[in-house]
Point group: C2
Chain length 215, copies 2
């Protein structure tokens, strides 16, 4: 028996983080990707024009509408949506490859994207909703960018409320009162979900080895 | 809105730890109870005679067989079993009180106890199975007590194998290769399960407050 040193084979998981903008999701994602080996961010494919500071394959895969339509047709997306005339989608192949290899994939999608992902891969999905600590704090964060008009802020608030209304569709909810604590909770969720029996695909063989050794 | 400082009301959870003896479950329990506020060990009721080093209400509630039978009759146990002529049971009332108050309860029970607890309280139960790192290591740990006869060890091995055969009934599986790591995994499971949406009974009211503040 050399099972002592061999890690148990494991299937990766899909960690979905959603929240109204201004709740700290982007910061939490960045911290997680920095701290956790074995987690990578899912790179979306989009038809929206590349901005000067963006790199193909890092921020997005930038493609033409014709290319995007073809991908939709051959079911190459796990989820996709049209937002303000531009299309955004999560390509399926890299996600499935990562999961098979025991790597986890982080998704920064809204409740609609989460619903589509859950439909496609219910067993692999771990969904986390991040809430702001209070309405006052949310308002403060949404108003922060000084150049925004009253109208822009109102639109942002209503979008935040609409996103928040879907909190009850998520497995876990983190209230981001304190970034350090919220981050610890996010890491605990990832660590715990990695210990779920059904993700540890090598357990069956491992226990067979243990049982054989005791008889 | 004063929601910023108020913790979200939460229902406690029942953390069940099972393992073959020699896998480190007792050490992990002890470490958890020491490190985690808000977790207490469920004290069993038993008909077995008190040993000199045991205290009533700390190690067990020691009762007569007649008393135990009455408790069974009025459905006062969440689970109970007869082992070598003695009865052991988990009294229901203190567990339900703790859960209502947002406290977590740790259970050190075998697969049969776990099955009964799961039947009684499926939504509150979080079950963790601890495995030894290898058959050789398990053997070594089961043999450690020098005074044991070959027969006693064989019985212990066969009991361990029989307990291990139920690993697939648990939510989480921890392979105890390294105590520090196994303990970190156990704590992550507890921390994550506390973030589960359905345990945070105060979320609904909290989000209503957030939504009201954004309109």
């Amino acid at each position: 028996m050399t099972s002592k040193q061999m890690p148990i084979a494991r299937r990766g998981l899909m960690l979905v983080l959603s929240s109204p903008s201004g709740a700290g999701k982007t910061t939490l994602s960045r911290l997680l990707l920095k701290a956790e080996r074995g987690v990578s961010l899912s790179i979306s494919t989009t038809t929206r024009p590349r901005r000067p500071n963006e790199r193909h394959g890092q921020h997005y895969h930038f493609v033409t509408q014709a290319h995007f339509d073809k991908m939709v047709k051959r079911n190459a997306f796990m989820e996709w949506a049209r937002v303000f005339g531009n299309c955004y989608g999560t390509p399926r192949a890299p996600v499935e490859k990562a999961l098979r290899q025991g790597h986890d994939v982080l998704f920064d999608v809204d409740w609609q994207g989460t619903q589509q992902l859950r439909e496609k891969a219910p067993d692999d999905l771990v969904s986390v909703f991040v809430l702001p600590p209070s309405a006052a704090e949310l308002k403060r964060r949404l108003k922060k960018r000084a150049q925004d008009t009253h109208e822009v802020i109102a639109t942002r608030m209503s979008k935040a409320a609409s996103e928040m209304s879907h909190w009850a569709e998520y497995d876990y909810v983190i209230v981001n009162r304190d970034l350090k604590r919220a981050f610890a909770e996010l890491r605990a969720i990832l660590a715990a979900e990695r210990c779920r029996r059904e993700r540890q695909t090598g357990l069956s063989a491992f226990v067979r080895g243990l049982m054989a050794g005791t008889s």
